[in-house]
């Protein structure tokens, strides 16, 4: 039987005067690639924040079979990698791309110990995998948005997580870079045998290994099923309250915004 990595039972996030998440139930199995889709304000990022341990909630959350709260052990935190939306880094900020990747190993190494040669080589290998090894000695703030996101993914993978949370990792990137980042995420999923939760609102830019989708609207889960069932005009029009149609090309389904 496949191990259940993540379980949410009746999880609610209440911030006066509204509910950001309302009674969400979710079961994620090991090595699943799950998409979390919904319009702005649907509760996608809140859901990721609850799982990452940043947001107070009511209900029950289990990670790797253990009930968890906001206060988590270092060991549990390390097992959950987190890639936030692209955030600004000042061009002057004193951190190089390689150093930013190495911050992913700090928790793993623990207090009063320094990362060794093994960890540095591992970081470089991941940067090579994410096609940013040539930027290792460049200040992070001087990299493009796409390059910074690849560095961010390499940093999260260096943590050696079992569950990877990706919060709209391709937002604000141009189309070619979005496609490249998605291909790299697919590659990581296969090579590292991870479980991935991928938040997005762009259906035409989905990783090819994503098979299951959860749809959120106004903090409620309104759909949980295969990506084929999700990408229908009827389901998406209902989700976004806007007429949407889908069409097929090369065996893949795409959304037309009309």
């Amino acid at each position: 039987m496949t191990e259940e990595i993540l379980t949410l039972a009746d999880v609610t996030v209440h911030k006066h005067p509204s509910k950001l998440l309302s009674g969400v139930n979710l079961h994620v199995l090991k090595n699943e690639f799950l998409g979390v889709i919904g319009p702005n304000g649907a509760g996608k990022t809140t859901l990721l924040n609850v799982i990452a341990g940043f947001e107070k909630y009511s209900g029950e959350l289990k990670l790797f079979g253990r009930k968890e709260t906001l206060k988590r052990s270092r060991h549990t935190r390390i097992r959950v990698g987190y890639v936030p939306q692209l955030f600004p880094v000042e061009p002057n900020f004193p951190i190089l791309a390689a150093e930013a990747v190495m911050t992913g190993v700090v928790g793993r190494v623990g207090l009063f110990r320094s990362p060794g040669r093994k960890e540095r080589e591992e970081a470089l290998r991941l940067m090579e995998m994410m096609r940013v090894a040539h930027l290792a000695d460049r200040p992070l703030g001087q990299l493009s948005g796409g390059e910074r996101q690849k560095v961010s993914i390499a940093r999260a993978i260096l943590q050696q997580p079992d569950l990877l949370l990706l919060d709209e990792p391709t937002a604000n990137l141009d189309i070619a870079v979005q496609k490249e980042v998605l291909t790299l995420i697919d590659e990581i999923f296969v090579r590292k045998a991870l479980t991935i939760l991928f938040v997005t609102h762009d259906f035409n830019m989905l990783p090819s290994h994503m098979e299951r989708v959860v749809m959120l609207r106004n903090g409620e889960k309104i759909f949980d099923g295969s990506i084929r069932e999700a990408l229908t005009g009827q389901a998406l029009s209902g989700l976004f309250q806007y007429p949407l149609e889908t069409f097929e090309r090369d065996g893949r389904r795409f959304v037309s915004y009309g």
């Binding site: 911030k15 990452a52 341990g53 940043f54 270092r74 060991h75 935190r77 390390i78 959950v80 990698g81 987190y82 936030p84 955030f87 061009p91 002057n92 900020f93 004193p94 951190i95 190089l96 150093e99 930013a100 911050t103 992913g104 700090v106 928790g107 793993r108 190494v109 207090l111 009063f112 320094s114 990362p115 200040p139 001087q142 961010s152 940093r155 999260a156 943590q159």
Partner: protein, 289 residues
């Protein structure tokens, strides 16, 4: 030539033989080192308002100490630690803008400080010294307190350097990776309180703010390496303090003011000759490929 040099240096060498001047120079080095190490955090974590609030907490606490007949350093430190304990959890809350929290705390502390000064029945000189600092009236105990606090701060940076780098880069990402970011942040707030209150007697509660921002801002113009950042910040802080003290002696001006002005002058030099700024300007001018 040698004679001219001797005539220039001799007055300084003579005056250095006096114990109050020796203590002032040692205090300048310790104050410059401690404040400038803190300024790395203040500048990179964009928390100058925390620096202002802590310096005013120390000042208000010390004035209250004078009112209640307590040791001003201890009362300043106690109020600083209390403010740190309040500011930490409040700035972590997502439903209140941190700037508003700091604005409220800062104005409250200013109110307490000036109320205390208003009702102080004894001479105001003691309170004014806490505001401007009084480098020439330091006791040996003041120097020891300053030395211990500065040493603890430097030890904190050395022991937790990799965690500090992760927290400076992004607190949330650090937390997600198993870094005890809250512990690092809270220790930092408490150390800010300790450094600021131990420096009330050197540069004072108002002018210390210059040393909590300018050395870090100076280093930001010059390096991308965090270790060098700490070194450059510390060097510019110490240099500003010692040069400021020498200028105060030479031109007979208040020492706190001359330290603050020297720190600003060093920042201006770093800004004008910043290799990072020139590099950024060049890359902006390059035509798109």
């Amino acid at each position: 030539m040698e004679g001219a040099l001797y005539r220039m240096v001799d007055p300084f060498l003579n005056i250095l033989s006096y114990p109050p001047i020796q203590r002032a120079v040692i205090a300048c080095v310790l104050c410059g080192a401690g404040c400038s190490v803190l300024s790395v955090f203040v500048v990179l974590m964009k928390m100058p308002l925390i620096g202002v609030s802590m310096s005013h907490a120390a000042f208000a606490g010390a004035v209250l100490g004078l009112l209640l007949g307590m040791n001003p350093f201890l009362s300043g430190l106690m109020l600083c630690l209390l403010v740190a304990a309040v500011l930490g959890p409040l700035s972590d809350r997502t439903d209140i803008a941190p700037e508003n929290v700091l604005g409220i705390v800062f104005s409250f502390l200013m109110g307490i400080a000036f109320l205390g000064m208003g009702i102080l029945t004894q001479t105001k000189a003691g309170a004014l010294n806490l505001m401007w600092g009084s480098l020439l009236n330091l006791s040996e105990t003041d120097i020891w307190v300053l030395a211990v606090v500065t040493a603890v701060l430097i030890l904190f940076v050395v022991l937790f350097f990799k965690e500090i780098r992760a927290v400076l880069f992004n607190r949330r990402i650090a937390a997600s990776g198993g870094v005890p970011e809250r512990m690092i942040y809270y220790i930092l707030l408490f150390l800010t309180g300790a450094v600021v209150s131990s420096n009330l007697s050197t540069v004072g509660g108002l002018l210390i703010f210059a040393l909590l921002v300018q050395p870090g801002a100076t280093a930001l113009q010059l390096t991308y390496n965090l270790k060098s950042f700490f070194w450059i910040s510390a060097a510019s802080g110490i240099f500003a303090c010692v040069l400021g003290l020498a200028a105060s002696y030479l031109f007979d001006i208040p020492s706190g003011a001359s330290v603050a002005l020297t720190a600003t002058f060093l920042f201006a030099l770093a800004f004008i000759f910043s290799p990072k700024r020139r590099q950024n300007q060049l890359s902006e001018r390059k035509p798109m490929p």
